[in-house]
Symmetry: C2
Subunit: 212 residues, 2 copies
């Protein structure tokens, strides 16, 4: 089975499994059952077994899954068994916070360059990595080539997002994580994942309203 055949909801859960497995290994656990994983993540044991069965047979009946082995396998599926060079566009509040976020590096994503078109910001180092200087957006193609960058984080205002996306794809970037509150479109050579923080609060507002 090709990994692209794994249903999208299952791929999302794989990330959660990996996160939980990392916690378990930290606690020196060696194996885990689908039931235990399910309890920790509020999912059914059956669903976890189905998800894991998409890519082979790992578990040992009566025992469960080998944590180390399973982590390795999930990382390979997700493509995080290697390091990805990442660039960031947008050096505002959100962009700077994202650049300082330790969670990315822990998963093998390495921030290599930061871009912004504000003349006030160009040329300045970013607080989290003083070796990285903010460069103008027109430099993106150079950086992508030089540093072999495949992924980009977009944290610019909504009105600038599509233009930035076009520039990124034109420069050869293959994946965009979009934080701008607007839907962006790219050619089939690239993928986009969107995170709209306000949308998340709206979803919460809906849920809270529903349970009252």
């Amino acid at each position: 089975m090709k990994s692209s055949d794994i249903p999208a909801p299952a791929v999302h859960r794989l990330s959660l499994y990996l996160r939980e497995l990392e916690n378990l290994r930290q606690a020196d656990r060696r194996t885990v059952s689908s039931r235990q994983l399910g309890d920790a993540l509020k999912l059914t044991a059956t669903q976890i077994r189905k998800d894991l069965a998409y890519f082979g047979q790992f578990g040992k009946p009566g025992i469960g899954y080998d944590i180390e082995a399973l982590m390795g396998r999930i990382r390979r599926i997700l493509g995080t068994d290697r390091t990805w060079n990442v660039l960031l566009v947008g050096a505002g509040n959100l962009g700077m916070a994202l650049s300082a976020y330790r969670g990315f590096a822990k998963k093998g994503f390495r921030l290599c360059a930061v871009f912004d078109d504000d003349p006030e910001k160009i040329g300045r180092p970013i607080p989290a990595f003083p070796a990285i200087f903010i460069r103008p957006v027109c430099d993106i193609p150079i950086a992508v080539r030089e540093k072999d960058i495949r992924l980009a984080i977009v944290a610019v205002p909504a009105h600038a997002a599509q233009g930035v996306a076009d520039a990124l794809v034109g420069a050869g970037v293959r994946g965009i994580l979009n934080f701008a509150p607007v839907s962006i479109h790219v050619t089939a050579t690239a993928a986009v994942t969107a995170v709209d923080l306000a949308v998340q609060l709206e979803q919460l507002s809906f849920q809270v309203s529903a349970l009252e």
Copy 2:
């Protein structure tokens, strides 16, 4: 039909519709068809009509939907036709960026209090709102009562997240937006929505690996 009967995927799309409608109204448009909305969001026109039909009949055949009216209706469904008071726990990089994020206020979410247990930070004002001073986590119940706060944003390290969540629910908070990279559990009186930034990059990494 009760709004809690709307399927979860549809509720998520409602947020996207609302965002797009806001853009359209900005551009002085009065009406929009399901087809136009679908093109903008990469969804089928049928799906949009189905979603909107969950809560009544809005569209005019031959014309489309009245943008203003539809926005009002979606806001009521999502619960954003009023202002929500929000508190933030965690005054690190991510927390401070979230406090400065303009998108929340634009949607009617008002930040009222910020908490952190780092003695270095307690008592200091936050840059985005100099009138808000960072308070210790034990003050949460007081603030919730005083300011009638129902929603909380959690931006603390993973190991602290469940404890903070327990404190929040105990204080009467009804909804939690969790940025900590760990699954948190609460009683049925409260709702949790999770955003794990590293997970989002992993999903992107998967998609990019799949299209190579």
